[in-house]
């Protein structure tokens, strides 16, 4: 499994997420925003977290129009995997790879803390190492993670089982601990073919017990096995 981790100016989580893929048994290579083609043999495109273009205009808006993004859209269109985390999720939404928008947190504060999530389904290529309904603890660090869509899109996402993760408390209550006001406590969503996943939390931070836990590792192991 080869993951191509794309770095845009202002992105700062590219090495952590590349490392998570390596720990899970995959191979990670780096790609640059100004490239027009993905590295050969790319199975998974990774849009990492950070602050591309200083979050100017709207988070992810400028990176979403970078030269490499045409190749990323083509990769997704032919069924390739895309994992988009935090600023990467914002970029994916702005690029039209996923529906919705990430708006300013309802509480206006940048939220940086550990956060429980409920895995909504355990049968996608991103989540086979988890069980449906499992509560995992990862971390979040964002100021614009408030997931917004219109009612129709929200109903479609829910109806098609395209919500990947919801924020919840340690007991799995999805009505508690919503850090940013996201509709239906949505922390991550899939594309229609379940091959593109965008999420605000950082699974790549929780891949080693030495640094606080391994609840994020299963996502990378699932992908490495699938791709």
């Amino acid at each position: 499994m080869r993951a191509a981790v794309i770095t845009f100016p202002g992105i700062n989580r590219q090495d952590d997420i590349a490392r998570a893929f390596t720990l899970a048994g995959g191979e990670a290579v780096h790609a640059w925003h100004a490239d027009t083609a993905l590295p050969g043999g790319t199975d998974v495109v990774v849009l990492p977290g950070g602050f591309s273009y200083g979050d100017y205009l709207r988070c992810g808006a400028i990176a979403a129009r970078a030269p490499i993004m045409d190749a990323v859209r083509a990769h997704a269109a032919k069924g390739g995997y895309v994992l988009a985390v935090c600023n990467g999720f914002q970029i994916a939404c702005e690029a039209g790879l996923l529906p919705g928008v990430l708006m300013r947190n309802a509480g206006l504060k940048f939220v940086c803390r550990m956060q429980h999530l409920k895995v909504q389904r355990g049968d996608t290529d991103f989540t086979r190492h988890y069980q449906a309904g499992q509560v995992i603890e990862v971390c979040i660090a964002h100021g614009e993670g408030n997931y917004v869509t219109d009612d129709e899109t929200l109903a479609r996402l829910e109806g098609e089982g395209r919500v990947a993760f919801r924020y919840c408390d340690a007991a799995g209550d999805e009505t508690k601990r919503n850090p940013n006001g996201s509709r239906n406590a949505i922390a991550g969503v899939y594309s229609e073919n379940l091959r593109v996943l965008g999420m605000m939390p950082h699974p790549e931070n929780l891949v080693e017990s030495l640094v606080g836990g391994t609840d994020g590792l299963g996502l990378f192991q699932s992908l490495v096995k699938a791709a």
């Binding site: 205009l57 808006a61 300013r104 917004v148």
Partner: protein
């Protein structure tokens, strides 16, 4: 030509920044402040003297980058 593009949030989209500004204005005791919605203004110089062309160009700029039409509306004014 000079032009001004205004980008505003659609009705019904939560605007926590606007709410915070509204709260601050009200806390000054300013009478008559109803509600506040925050938006963005872009002043743009366009290399054409043709008003219709300038408007078409800026509409494209809005659709491609300046506005996210999922949650935002935009208005283009060519000011001459």
């Amino acid at each position: 030509m000079k032009a001004r593009v205004t980008v505003t949030l659609k009705n019904g989209v939560l605007d926590p920044q606007g709410k915070a500004i509204e709260g601050a204005l009200k806390s000054f005791g300013l009478e008559g402040i109803g509600s506040v919605r925050q938006g963005k203004v872009f002043d743009i110089e366009v290399d054409t003297a043709d008003k219709a062309r300038a408007e078409a160009l800026l509409k494209q700029a809005c659709e491609k980058l300046l506005a996210n039409t999922v949650v935002e509306n935009y208005k283009v004014e060519v000011v001459g």
